[in-house]
């Protein structure tokens, strides 16, 4: 008896199902955040809308006028937490995330729940006021 679906079609469907159900995970490495002294620095405001594009093609917009407060530092840069707002990155699951900025470039994200660093494949320029 001839199989209902050719083998190649079964593989293609399996792959599509796995992709649809699985998605891509946010990759991160465990890091230790050196916390900044409380109220050490004033919050900084993002000067312009910035579209952050991940290696997977997933994109998030950082809004102009949003406030960010430095909460600590990692070897990869200073860590900024949103003020009176949240920021989230999405892989196969959702993660609360803070920005990691070094020399005016967004280098990645700190995942506070995991205590992890997730690198941005291609760092992007961020302009804050005050500079």
């Amino acid at each position: 008896m001839k199989p209902y679906l050719p083998r190649i079609k079964c593989h293609a469907i399996s792959l599509a199902l796995a992709m649809a159900l699985g998605g891509c995970a946010v990759q991160y490495t465990p890091v230790h955040l050196d916390l900044a002294p409380v109220a050490a620095a004033p919050a900084r405001t993002l000067a312009q809308d910035t579209n952050v594009v991940f290696d997977t093609g997933y994109a998030r917009q950082l809004k102009a006028g949003s406030s960010w407060k430095r909460v600590g530092a990692l070897p990869q840069g200073d860590v900024y937490r949103p003020v009176d707002d949240i920021f989230m990155v999405q892989g196969s699951h959702n993660h609360e995330a803070y920005l990691i900025v070094r020399d005016g470039m967004l280098t990645g994200f700190y995942l506070p729940a995991e205590g992890g660093f997730s690198a941005l494949g291609k760092p992007q320029a961020l302009r804050f006021t005050p500079e």
């Binding site: 989230m88 993660h95 205590g115």
Partner: protein
Amino acid sequence: MFKTQLCLIAAALALTGCAATGPKFAEQQSSTPKLSADKGRVYFYRKDSFVGGGLRPEIRLDGAVVGKSQPGGYFYVDATPGSHEAATSTEVENKLSFVVDKGETKYVRTKVSMGVLVGHVTPELVGSAEAQPELSELHYTGGDAK
């Protein structure tokens, strides 16, 4: 013919369902206890929508069932400060990891999206400015959701 009708009825039930009942947010707020200084509060809610109304998965916080994702419903949990993971399951498990500080309130919205065989219900963090107006339209399900 009979099978087709059954499928249509099942599909209609899965797509619609009933919205949550219970006191509205403003009514419930007067009897909502103040957040204690050593805890954080997490609101879970789902906007009322026609699509996926029949999907009402349990919401787990750090592995324990704390309520259900119901269209038009909300509830809250007071949690210890630190890292937490919220999760819902239909044909796949969807998770959200976040932190709560002492005295902080976080908002987790569950959202229905297309799945392969069954819709997915995904927890996502929402800022206070976006969550507050959405919550005002919803009904408290904390008493009967567990």
